[in-house]
């Protein structure tokens, strides 16, 4: 669509970025890889263990269980937040004072520190002293997220939707605003229906922005830790023990740095793989 010119000067443009990011990324990464292939009994004594930790992790039932829970959670999140976010962005006003009101109010959930989000939803959803808990129980349901796995899931998902959908809304809205008026004018002249406008103009033009939104939500929900940990602690039992929560339990609770580091890397690789696949698909469809 936009032919790029070959220009090695591009490296000068990206150099500051590369330096700042590499400084932060490479050295720590090497440290982690180091840990992941060693054993320690404390006292900074390390024994080489090779791929033992990786095997252990990949074969463990506990890992499988957490992974499945995580995948399910992330899928539900994406299926709700992305369409919802886009729909709201489409319905938002374009001009006038209401734009400011909408943008500011929608941004508020994003700005609350994640431990506060977890804590406030904890109280908010409690059946006896929380508004949400009271309302749901008042409607006739038997709702107690500290004891019922379904309720715990419901609350966690609701909290995440509340917390993060605005990210999708903001991105989608900015993307929509970037579509030149001429497209809408031409569509008017061509006699296009609102659905046709969405399908042939808005959606294609938002593709890049939507990719960013989807991948961001995937990454962040896949690695989610603080909010569900504060809300449910991973419970009841391990009903809401997602991958991160499990990982921290292993690393801190048992001081098993080896398996923890191995798990971290496997974790990272899964995210990497999914993102890479999705990203490549998106880029390829644009090239054709």
């Amino acid at each position: 669509m936009n032919a790029k010119t070959s220009n090695q000067k591009g490296w000068l443009f990206v150099l500051p970025v590369v330096i700042l990011v590499a400084f932060n990324a490479l050295i720590p990464l090497m440290t982690v890889v180091n840990y992941s292939v060693q054993e320690t009994f404390g006292d900074n004594i390390f024994f080489w263990e090779g791929v033992k930790w990786y095997e252990d992790v990949l074969q463990s039932e506990r890992f499988h269980a957490s992974l499945i829970r995580q995948l399910f959670f992330t899928s539900v999140i994406l299926l709700i937040e992305v369409p919802l976010g886009v729909a709201i962005a489409l319905a938002m006003p374009r001009r006038g004072i209401w734009v400011s009101v909408c943008l500011v109010l929608m941004a508020l959930p994003l700005l609350i520190p994640w431990n506060v989000v977890g804590a406030m939803w904890n109280i908010f959803a409690l059946p006896d002293i929380g508004l949400l808990g009271r309302i749901i129980n008042g409607m006739g349901f038997d709702y107690n997220f500290t004891q019922q796995p379904f309720a715990a899931w419901f609350t966690t998902i609701l909290m995440d939707v509340w917390h993060w959908t605005s990210l999708v809304v903001l991105l989608a809205y900015a993307g929509l605003r970037s579509i030149p008026d001429a497209y809408y004018q031409a569509a008017k002249i061509d006699g296009a229906s609102p659905w046709a406008v969405f399908r042939y103009i808005q959606l294609p033009k938002m593709k890049r922005v939507l990719t960013i939104a989807i991948l961001l939500r995937f990454m962040d929900s896949f690695m989610i830790y603080t909010e569900p940990f504060v809300l449910t602690g991973g419970g009841p039992g391990n009903a809401t023990t997602f991958l991160s929560i499990d990982l921290v339990k292993i690393a801190l609770g048992q001081f098993d740095l080896g398996p923890a580091a191995a798990m971290s890397l496997i974790y990272f690789l899964i995210v990497l793989l999914v993102c890479w696949v999705f990203y490549t698909l998106m880029m390829r469809s644009e090239q054709s």
Binding site: M1, P180, A182, Y183, Q185, A186, K188, I189, D190, G191, A192, S193, A196, Y200, I201, P204, K205, S288
Partner: protein, 355 residues
């Protein structure tokens, strides 16, 4: 096809327009005759896009009415006015093929498939897009995409007028000429009214039969390219058209004749002078200024050789007067004097021609 009339149209983008500056388009009445090739020429911000959008229906004027033939279309939306518009940046539906792009307006209007097919192929052939029909529209070059934009307007059999809003802005320079010729060719073939907005005088003067020159929201002159050149009705037209632009010099009226530099300037057309405090000026193009034994004394300041002639910059007191010197003529060595061709000397009061 139809005749388009604008009656007492004026437009402001501001809710409560107070002064003159709030009006993007000052009151005007313009007629566009059926089948004409018009150019709407003027600098950025003069209101030409506003005028275009009022004609196409994308904008409803603050005051005034728009007529297509005998029908008042002021409140009719664009898709019901049977107009087509090509924008500054190519507007194509990226996800569709070229074929589907061209077919889109017809499909929206419920035309039968075989008719659509015939029409699309006809228009594609006209625009040299026949080979590209199955390709994805997103892959075409800028000029190809503009052709698609144009094509979407041409496929509709009932188009009254095609409007172009600076359509060659993003086209490569060497392709601009090709596309311009194609547009002119299409106009001759189809006979549809075409209105072409531009700030480039070359584009305007080569494409149009009639040029509408705009300045600060007002139409200052409508005429053929020749008329605009030889008898600019407003000093702005003189400045804007032609390179170098017209010489504009202050003058005073004495005994019914304009005076400049202490001398009476002979003019051909009668002076319709009103008494008053207007700013009086004489306008004469460099093409119509000649060195002469008698005339206004000047000092030669600069000579620029541009090939077949030279642009000579002279000075009388604090006023600069430019003239064109053919290459076979020599510069006067001393005591230079210049003479204005009476047939092409105009007198302007507050910018407007009064002879």
């Amino acid at each position: 096809m139809s005749r388009i009339s604008l009656r007492d149209v004026r437009h402001s983008y501001v809710k409560d327009p107070q002064g003159d500056e709030d009006w993007a388009l000052k009151t005007m009445s313009v007629d566009w005759s059926d089948g004409g090739a018009y150019a709407l020429l003027g600098p950025s911000g003069c209101g030409k896009t506003t005028l275009l959008n009022i004609i196409s229906g994308l904008l409803t004027p603050t005051a005034g009415r728009v007529w297509f033939d005998d029908e008042d279309v002021t409140d009719t939306p664009p898709d019901q006015r049977n107009i087509a518009q090509v924008f500054q940046f190519p507007v194509v539906y990226d996800t569709m093929t070229v074929y589907d792009n061209l077919a889109f307006p017809l499909r929206n209007r419920g035309v039968a498939a075989p008719d659509i097919d015939a029409k699309v192929r006809e228009i594609a052939a006209m625009l040299d897009l026949g080979d590209m029909l199955p390709s994805r529209a997103a892959g075409l070059t800028a000029d190809g995409k503009q052709k698609i934009s144009l094509g979407r307007g041409l496929v509709r059999p009932d188009v009254n007028v095609i409007m172009f809003d600076e359509p060659l802005t993003v086209i490569d320079p060497h392709l601009k000429w090709l596309l311009r010729s194609k547009l002119k060719e299409l106009h001759q073939q189809l006979g549809t009214t075409m209105i072409y907005v531009t700030h480039d005088q070359t584009e305007a003067l080569t494409f149009a039969d009639q040029v509408v020159v705009m300045h600060e929201g007002t139409v200052v002159q409508i005429g053929t390219p020749v008329e605009l050149f030889e008898r600019p009705q407003h000093t702005f037209v003189g400045h804007f058209i032609g390179s170098p632009g017209m010489n504009v010099l202050p003058c005073r009226i004495d005994g019914g004749k304009p005076h400049f530099g202490g001398q009476a300037i002979p003019i051909e057309h009668a002076l319709a002078h009103r008494d008053g405090d207007e700013r009086l000026e004489i306008g004469v193009r460099p093409e119509f200024v000649k060195f002469d034994k008698e005339g206004i004394p000047v000092d030669i300041v600069k000579v620029s050789d541009v090939g077949r002639f030279s642009i000579v910059e002279t000075r009388h007191g604090e006023h600069v007067i430019k003239l064109l010197l053919p290459e076979d003529e020599a510069l006067p060595s001393e005591d230079a004097r210049i003479h204005f061709d009476p047939a092409h000397t105009q007198v302007y009061a507050d910018g407007w021609m009064v002879n």
